[in-house]
Structure formats: structure tokens, C-alpha cells
Amino acid sequence: MSAAIEAHGLVKTFGSDVRALDGVSLSVERGTVLGLLGPNGAGKTTTVRVLTTTLVPDAGSATVNGFDVVREADKVRASIGLAGQYAAVDENLTGRENLRMVGQLFQMSRRDASRIAGELLEHFELTEAADRPSKTYSGGMRRRLDIAAALVHRPPVLFLDEPTTGLDPKSRNAVWSVVEELVADGTTVLLTTQYLEEADRLADRIVVVDRGAVIAEGTSAELKADLGETVLDLGFPDPDTAERAAGLFRGSWPGGVVVDGSLLELSVDSGPSQVMLALRDLESAGIAANRMALREPSLDDVFLSLTGRRAEITEEES
């Protein structure tokens, strides 16, 4: 059986100079989650739009559920669910009306659409707010409603474009549980994100995109192999000192060594003893760090090690 989503060499330009997609290829096996990871402007939304038939590519081809996204667009539409980057709910309609409308547009009878709307609202803990106009909903509720709308017809393939950007941690966890539940149920999911943590938690495979091209691909473990489990950030008074400190480790340190301004970032694989080692080396060289932190590697680190550039990540938006 073919993969649930397959794309080959997708190209899409806007105007004469914006090359949003520059030959994107990817493949998602049935029942798995693909995380499309990339900074702002990488081409994630454009990829999703091509795969969900709302945008026709200039070159390349793609199939979803075996249907061609250009020639068999209607069949693709009938078999996918889409929750776009900005929750597309009609704010003057109640949650129930929004879901019923989508059901009816999937050619369900009004009765069936109403029944399913009720069940979805219950499932997404929106029953209490079901009959209020959705403009009164919080960001998290709106996002849940939007995802519920994508599930009205229980599509075998679901697209989620930055489903948690701008959500508070509690709402983010709620969205994550939904995805996990759907996957347990056999749904194929393509989700885009700017957060490695999210891709890490949800995705079976990760495709990293930058400037419209795939720059890395693999499981989260494979991508992080070079980065180590943890990153040790050491702050110095000035970039020169940071550079001197980096000189101590370059060549001998088992993981990545990156200088960013007056910050030195060391990948740590083997835990506390390795951190101790780094600190001891610094002390014996007489270089004093004024700040220290241990953290998980972020998309930024993956990105920096792949491209040598910093990724531009959108902060909270709603």
C-alpha cells in the first residue's frame, strides 16, 4: 500500500522573487505522525496548502490517500481534515453551529451533522460553551473547536498547521492529547511546528525545512544525535572571552561547540560528570563564566548546527 501522503519536488513561487517552496519532497506512512519543523517563513504553511488542495504547485506532484492533489482535488478534500495556522471558525456562529455547518458541507444531513456536532463538542469539553458565539471563546477553546471541525467526517489524514503556536501550556497539552488519541486510532497526521519539543513528543519522523527546502530528515533521536541530550549554556562578559573559552573545547569536546555572541553552548551527552569536566577546564584556564544554564536542545540548536544560522521563531501570537 502506498504512503498516506507523498510529495515530490514541490515548487511554489509567489510573484517573481518569493520562492516559498523550492523542491519539497516528503512521505508519510499510514498511521504515523510527520512533524514538519521549520522557522517562520520556511514554507510549512505553503506545503500544507498544496497538500490540502487550496494552492496549486508550480511544479512537482503530490498524492494524499492515493489521490492526486491537483487532478483529484475533490477526492483529496473528502478524505482529509485541516486545521490551519489561524483557527478558521466563524466567530458570529456558536461552536455548535460552526460544526454543524461543516458537517452539512460534507454532505451530511442536518440531523446527522447536529448529532455529530454535539458529540464532538462533548469530546472536546466545549459543551458548556456550545451555544455561545465562538468569539467569546479563549484561544485554546477556539483551537479545539477548529480541530473538532477538521474531524467532523473522521478523515484518515489530518493536517495541523502550527496547532499550538500561541497557546498556553494547558491548552497545548490538551491539543497534544488529541493528536495522540487520533494516532492511537490509526489517523495519519502531518503537523507543522516551530518547536522541536512538540515534534519530539508527537512525531514519528521529523522533516526540517528552511527557505522552501528540506534540510534534514529523520527521527527525533537521529536529528538530535549530534546535539546531545542536553545543552550547557555558559555566559561570559564579552564575545572575546566566550571565544577564548570555546578554544579550550574545540577539538577535544565530544559534542558540539557553538559560540553565539558572548554565549558558549556545549552539547552534553553523558550527564553531570561531563558538566563538571567543562567547569573544571574553565577554572584551571582562569576563565570565569558569569552565567550558566542546562537546557534541552531546541529547534534553534538543530537549525544552527544544520545551517550555521539562527532560526527566526515567532513568539506568542493568538
Binding site: 509567489f14 496548502r49 490540502t52 488542495t53 487550496t54 494552492l55 475533490d74 478534500r77 473528502a78 482529509i80 485541516l82 490551519g84 495556522q85 489561524y86 483557527a87 478558521a88 466563524d90 466567530e91 458570529n92 456562529l93 453551529e97 455547518m101 461543516v102 458537517g103 452539512q104 458541507l105 460534507f106 454532505q107 451530511m108 444531513s109 446527522d112 451533522a113 448529532r115 455529530i116 458529540e119 464532538l120 462533548e122 469530546h123 472536546f124 469539553e125 458565539p133 471541525a149 474531524l151 467532523v152 467526517h153 473522521r154 490538551a174 492529547s177 488529541v178 488519541e181 487520533l182 486510532d185
Partner: protein, 269 residues
Amino acid sequence: MTASVLPEAAVPMKRSRLRRSFGDAMVVTERNLISYVRIPESLFFSSVQPIMFVLLFRYVFGGAIATPGMNYVDYLMAGIFVQTVMFGSINTSIGLAEDLQKGLIERFRSLPMARSAVLAGRTTSDLLRNIVVIVIITLVGFAVGFRIHTNAIAFLGAVLLMLYFAYAISWGFAYIGLSAPNSEVAQLMAFPILFPLTFASTAFVPSSTMPPWLRAFAEHQPVSLVINSVRALSEGGPTARWVIPALIWCTVLLALFVPLAVWRYRRTA
């Protein structure tokens, strides 16, 4: 989330292509009407402007405008009706621009619904909205002395003609709404189009006092033809010479604007 399981999908109805297109358009129409009912301010304030025009022209300017063979208020109302439904059609561009801005069009495009339904639904709901506006303006007209001097059937014909005209204009505004960067601009874009057409017309004053070049325009442009038809159908006088060209204009505009709007909808990225 909760313990409840996700609902299974319902079996879709088997319907012919035509029934499907019609059904989808009705679903979208209903959705738009819910918004109109839920935000009555929109309907209220868009009725206030024509009511002020009625009062302004009836009581301030009217006394100074000579309309041979007719009370000024009877002359005026035909102009007010057509102006009002035309401005009512701006809602089509505002609504579509908003849907585009809020990502709703994107959602609709990802659904296996009829491609025509979003535009058909929007123009239909604005047609229904215009019916309500006409009822309001008719009542206001009666209150300030407007009288129908023909009969109810002829007046009904006048109403149908102005709705047909407004419906054609709606499709033109659909094109504008899909081209505008946002709903505020969509609204602003309408004024330079509607203003010359309503004021360089026979809406408020007879064309006989205009300079010849303006008069030539005012007498032959479609808004005047529709207004003259409405006036003849509600107040009397020869009708065919206005109604026939007016109907031709409406049909031509519709035949032009529908494909234009649909083309714009298809290529909106």
C-alpha cells in the same frame, strides 16, 4: 480529553451535482444570515443612512427642487430605493473580504463542497438582506408622504427590478471583496464607484438642469434607467422605455460579474 470517544462519521447523502450545489449555497446563506441576525447593529446603521437621506432631501433640499408632474417625495423615493439597495450590496464585498481575512475561505476551499457555494451563498444572503431594507425604507417613505400611484402589482415589479439590479451589483462587489486586502479597504473601494453613479443620475434631481455632457451620462447610465423604471412602476407614466433597457443592463452586468467573481475566487491564493 474526556472519556467519550470521537464520533464516527455519518454517511453522506447521495445527491445530484445540482442539488449539492444548491444545498451547499443554502448552508452558506444560512450561516451569513445568522451573522446578520446576531449583529442587528449592521442592519440598523445601514438603514439609518438612507433614512437620513430621505429626511434631508424631503425636508431640506426638496422644496427647492422642481419635479414637474409629481410631488418631490414621490420622485425622491425611487432614487432612495435604488441607492439603498446598491449600497446594501457593499456588504457582499465586506463579508467576503472578512471571510478571506479570517481564514474561512481557506477552510471552505479545503472542503469537498461546491466551488460556487461561497459566492452564491453570500450574494443570496445579501439579496435577502436587501429585501428587509426595502421594507424598512418603504415604511419610512410612507411616513413622510410617499404614495404609490399605480398599483401593488406594478410596485412589486419595481421591487423585483431593484433586487435584480442589486443582485447583479453584488456579484461585482464579490469581485472587489476578493481583491481587497481587508474589509475596511473593500468598503472604501465601493464609494468612488457608487458615488458618481448615484449622484450623476436621476435619483434626486431631474437631469434637465445638468450641463449637456453630464446630462448625456446621467440619462443613459444603468442606475438612472433602473430608477426611472422604479419611478414609472410606482408613480405612473410610460414603463417599457425604461424597464426594457434596465433589464438588459442588469442581465449584461450579471453575465459579466458572475464569471469575473468566480474567476477571482478560483485564483485567490
